[in-house]
């Protein structure tokens, strides 16, 4: 199964570079390009990409707004936000708006394609350390979605390990559980925290103080 990718960036050299890197990877295919967030809804409706690589700053409609709009759709693609600098308030805002992860534009080609694969499958959190730093730097502390979530002790354990970037199989090994059981726990965590993927749940966990972003999760 091929993963379709839509590139959204107002800089042509970024688009051509990403197209070359992603196009050379078996299993990934660039299905389209856009130069502004304003074009995204139309292209997504027509091209049905699995992953959207989305720049943050664009002339008319920025990546955060476009991401927010996109996730209102019934079956939205995953959004991977493109950024020049990692420690950027806009990247954090994009994660809060529902982006599954973010990707530094200077990331080496093999890590770019790995990130797209990771986001497409949703099996583990992308760049857990970077996400932790972002949340530690920019969390507003007003998101307390976990307070009334009513997670069980076991679900709490699973969420802590997910925040460390562990995949379902790795969580299963750590907790001596079956992979299917872990999947059930993860699904429960997402449902109870109102998160659409692991990234959202982890951001919520950090923001509510369930996991302290200033210290390595564990």
């Amino acid at each position: 199964m091929t993963t379709g990718v839509l590139l959204v960036d107002d800089e042509e050299l970024v688009r051509t570079g990403l197209r070359a890197v992603i196009g050379a990877e078996p299993g990934l295919e660039v299905v389209g390009e856009a130069v502004d967030g304003a074009e995204v809804p139309g292209l997504v409706g027509r091209l049905r990409p699995d992953v959207v690589l989305m720049d943050v700053r664009m002339p008319a409609v920025d990546g955060i707004t476009a991401t927010r709009e996109l996730l209102r759709r019934p079956d939205p693609p995953r959004v991977l936000v493109l950024t020049t600098f990692g420690h950027d308030r806009h990247v954090y805002d994009a994660l809060r708006a529902g982006a599954t992860g973010f990707l530094l534009k200077r990331t080496p080609p093999r890590d770019i394609v790995r990130a797209v694969h990771t986001v497409a499958t949703g099996e583990s959190l992308l760049f857990p350390a970077a996400v932790r730093e972002l949340v530690a730097g920019f969390a507003t502390g007003d998101g307390d979605r976990l307070a009334g979530a009513g997670l069980t002790a076991r679900e709490g354990d699973v969420l802590r390990l997910v925040a460390r970037g562990l995949s379902n199989a790795e969580v299963a090994a750590e907790l001596h559980l079956g992979v299917e059981t872990v999947k059930t726990h993860v699904a429960a965590v997402l449902a109870k925290t109102g998160s659409r993927d692991r990234t959202q749940a982890v951001v919520a966990a950090y923001e509510s103080g369930f996991v302290d972003p200033r210290f390595p999760a564990g």
Partner: protein, 400 residues
Amino acid sequence: MLLGAVVLLPYAGLAWLLSEVVRSGAGAAAATLLAVPAVLVGAGVLVLPGVRELATAAARTLLDPVSEPAEPPAATLPGPAAAPGAEGRLRAACWLLFCVACGTVAAAAVLLVIPQAAGLLLAPWEPLPGLPTGAAAWWTPLAGLALLPVAAAVPVLLGGVQARIAPRLLGPTAAERLAAELERSRRCADRQAGQARLARELHDSVGHALTVTTLQAGAAATVLESDPAFVRRALEAIEHTGRAALDDLDHVLGLLRDGDTAAGDPTAGDAPAPGPAALDALLTGARTAGLELSAEVDSVAGLPATVSRELHRLVQEGLTNALRHSGPGPSTLRLGRTGDAVQLRIANPAGVRRRRGRTGSGLAGAAERVALLGGTFGAGPDDDGWWVLHAHLPTGGGGT
């Protein structure tokens, strides 16, 4: 001190004149008649405008070498531009009186002690009134020698005391210190704002260039064998981008080297600005995104780069806000150009979500940047149910 002694002369002359008048028996009435205006004039001189400046300049020239080395002269003595208030004048008058006193003492020391010492030195060989002579005067040369350092020490000591007191009497008053401090902090803030802006420019331009070249190089390596045509294009892009970034770097670092004035000048130090095509793309983008927009735009060709860049940002900011917050109905954009300025006005029907008095950080940033360019900026709801962004940017009538 020397000045004190010089200033003393007319006063001494006046005093002698008065005493002569009194002694000649002209009567108390005549003496008073003469004395009152004389004293008034004498005192008036002390508080005349300019006395403080003169005294300060003289003190700075004559005393600074012996003043506290830790304190720079400018910090202890006010510059000539400082207009003295009543307090400053009074203190300057005190200083002048003090100088006269010091001058009197020093003149007395020099004029009385030195002849006295000479007399003592010569006493054994020369009969002088009031002094022993011959063998009985064996001690007088020693006393004379001992007196000479006294004659030298008195002016030196008094000079030291004056140097110490000068900053207190001639130095800035509390109000002057405050004004100077305010001025200094304002200049410092200006400089920092300018430097912060240049740092942002560098961050943006060099960060962008490095990102693009890194990505292109990585991509070229990935498809080295499968797509040689891409590799060629990538190498050309890397060369071009690197060169443009170095030009930017050269420009900005040149401005930083040029010092404070250039760094604080908001019109300096920008990379090539977006042109008319980029502006059109913004309008098209906003319409594509669903904004009902009627636009009337004068040509922006030939504007200074900083103005052009700021206009682009403002249009982007304004259209983004209109897209986010506009109520139903068409928005309007008017960009008008006169000989020495551009006017931008973007208006959209005020939406219900926009609350009065709240401005986003984007608008606050725009206001700061426009102010740096010497323009005016405003954004907010008007009384007719419109949300209006307007900016006036001087163009200086030339390009950069």
